[in-house]
């Protein structure tokens, strides 16, 4: 029963949602809307569990008085602070909640994103060490593409921008599409296997 119920529910909902895709009738559309509302409700319950897990984890770290307890304290206080500000003072455009979001959280996110440039250069250094034919090809193509998309590429030789574009549009696009075909079939196969109860690893085991 412990396995049959989730598998049965999965089969039922999977078939219904699949059928919904082929039926444009308002009954089908309403069903889809209803299910989407359920998803929001389920997500809300899951969020409570998630916040519970986050809080418990960081409270344990603070209780253990480890060297990283300060970070946990900041996490908990920030979470609690934002929740209180949002609940009691609103989240409209000019609220304190939005100000914190725009002036603290957004720049923090942008900072993390900006770090990508440094990570990219260290990763590129490793990737472009021409130790094999493949790495050499990678280095050569990357060089042509980089130069080709810069104004200096045209100045060096008029053929370079065209070559860069060809590399992106033909070999690069062909391999991307090849991968995407595999991904599409993989996704369909996974969905069918789960709906039909063939794939049960998501239940934590094969039996």
């Amino acid at each position: 029963m412990k396995r049959k119920l989730p598998l049965g529910l999965c089969l039922l909902m999977g078939l219904l949602m699949m059928g919904q895709f082929f039926i444009p009738h308002p009954v089908s559309t309403k069903f889809n809307t209803l299910i989407n509302k359920w998803v929001i409700v389920i997500s809300a319950f899951a969020l409570v569990l998630g916040i519970g897990n986050l809080s418990r984890h960081h409270i344990q770290i603070i209780q253990r008085s480890g060297p990283n307890r300060f970070y946990s304290l900041v996490t908990l206080l920030s979470m609690l602070g934002m929740a209180i500000i949002g609940i009691f003072f609103g989240i409209d455009e000019k609220s304190l909640y939005q100000k914190i979001f725009i002036h603290i959280l957004t720049p923090l996110g942008a900072t993390m994103f900006a770090l990508l440039a440094y990570y990219m250069s260290s990763a590129a250094y490793r990737a472009f060490r021409a130790r094999s034919i493949e790495a050499g090809l990678l280095l050569g193509s990357a060089f042509v593409v980089m130069i080709g998309f810069m104004p200096i590429g045209q100045l060096i030789h008029p053929i370079i921008p065209g070559l860069a574009e060809w590399l992106m549009k033909v070999p690069n696009m062909a391999s991307q599409r090849g991968i995407l075909f595999g991904v599409a079939f993989g996704a369909v196969a996974t969905a069918l296997k789960i709906i039909l109860g063939i794939e049960r690893s998501w239940l934590g085991g094969r039996d």
Partner: protein, 359 residues
């Protein structure tokens, strides 16, 4: 002058029809554009067959050749009228046929998808039956999946945890579901080796699913007492907040093996490169084509696209799942053949592309 305008502004082929493949409440009007390019546009009028006077319901620009009336009531009969608007004058009124809208029960434009699903399901059935009967089905070696055992073993030997990141996608991402399947297998290995596992999630629903997957895996291995709540953690939905938290975990808890399997975006390199810096063995897998080069660069093994979906079958070697992999391959082969055939037919000026067009 009027004769001239009348001649050049004739509205031919004005047809009103129920918009196909919809849930009703819409009439689709189409006409042939008038030759006079100096007109301002077309005014659309409508009346029910019981009414006597037309009401203006909309306007279409001078280059328009169709109009959708979304304000109709299903099953009511309407007549439309179209007229040309030029310099504030409306003329050349043309009447349509009588029409009524209704909701459809089947989207005919999606028959090709239904056909493909049925065909693919049949292929699945065929290969799984073959696998059940004991047919030997070959799967090529996937280095990234062969290395899973090695990575888990290494973490156990070093006495350090395993980090599993299912990516930045909610549960409706197929690759997140595939990732949960792989997590189940890794959690089983982790439970059998009695090695700590850290699973970090950015969406609450994925967190609850991951928690159940890991808990069940520990229970199935008879190690339910070894499972700890802290193994599966919820972090944040913020993309870079999530990346920052994972980097923090990597640097503080120094896992010996990192698995990044699922949908990843701009944060892919941030976390993979941090893991690389601490010297952890890293296995990544994603269906996000643009992130693959980052993983190839920063990780020891990378599962490319479809390999993520093949992982569960590969790791378990369950004949039924292996059979489904063969069905996937057969599906790809069929698609390739259809594409080649379509290309040849297009060269021969036989255009059948509409048959495979998805609506």
């Amino acid at each position: 002058m009027w004769v001239f305008l009348f001649f050049y502004a004739a509205i031919d082929n004005f047809v009103a029809q129920d918009r196909p493949n919809d849930g009703g409440g819409c009439i689709y009007l189409s006409w042939q554009r008038v030759v006079d390019t100096l007109i301002d546009g077309y005014v659309i009028f409508r009346r029910t067959i019981q009414d006597t006077a037309f009401t203006r319901i909309g306007f279409a620009g001078r280059y328009a050749v169709n109009f959708e009336d979304n304000t109709v009531v299903d099953s009511m009969k309407y007549i439309y009228q179209i007229a040309v608007l030029k310099q504030d004058s409306v003329y050349n009124h043309t009447l349509s046929n009588i029409v009524q809208s209704k909701a459809q029960f089947f989207h005919k434009g999606r028959i090709n998808i239904l056909f493909t699903i049925v065909l693919f399901t049949m292929l699945l059935g065929y290969f799984m039956t073959r696998a059940r009967k004991g047919a030997s089905l070959f799967i090529r070696k996937i280095a990234g999946l062969d290395a899973v055992e090695e990575a888990v073993g290494r973490a156990t030997e070093m006495g350090r945890p395993i980090l599993y990141v299912p990516g930045l996608g909610d549960i409706d991402f197929p690759s997140v579901i595939a990732s949960m399947n792989i997590l189940g297998e890794i959690a089983r290995k982790s439970a059998s080796y009695d090695n700590p596992l850290i699973v970090v999630n950015c969406y609450p629903v994925v967190y609850t699913v991951a928690r159940e997957v890991v808990r069940e895996a520990y229970t199935n291995e008879g190690r339910s007492d070894r499972y700890k709540d802290g193994y599966v953690r919820y972090l944040t939905e913020s993309q870079f907040g999530y990346a920052a938290a994972i980097n923090g975990i990597i640097l503080r808890e120094r896992p010996a093996a990192n698995f990044f399997i699922g949908p990843f975006f701009a944060e892919a390199l941030l976390i993979a490169e941090t893991g690389n810096q601490i010297g952890a063995i890293q296995i990544a897998g994603t269906d996000q084509v643009l992130q693959l080069p980052f993983f190839v660069t920063a990780c020891d093994y990378t599962l490319l696209g479809e390999e993520v979906y093949a992982a569960s079958a590969y790791l378990t070697r369950d004949p039924v799942l292996v059979g489904s992999l063969k069905a996937q391959d057969a599906g790809k082969l069929l698609t390739l053949l259809v594409l080649i055939l379509m290309t040849i037919l297009t060269f021969l000026k036989i255009n059948l592309i509409s048959l495979i067009k998805v609506q």
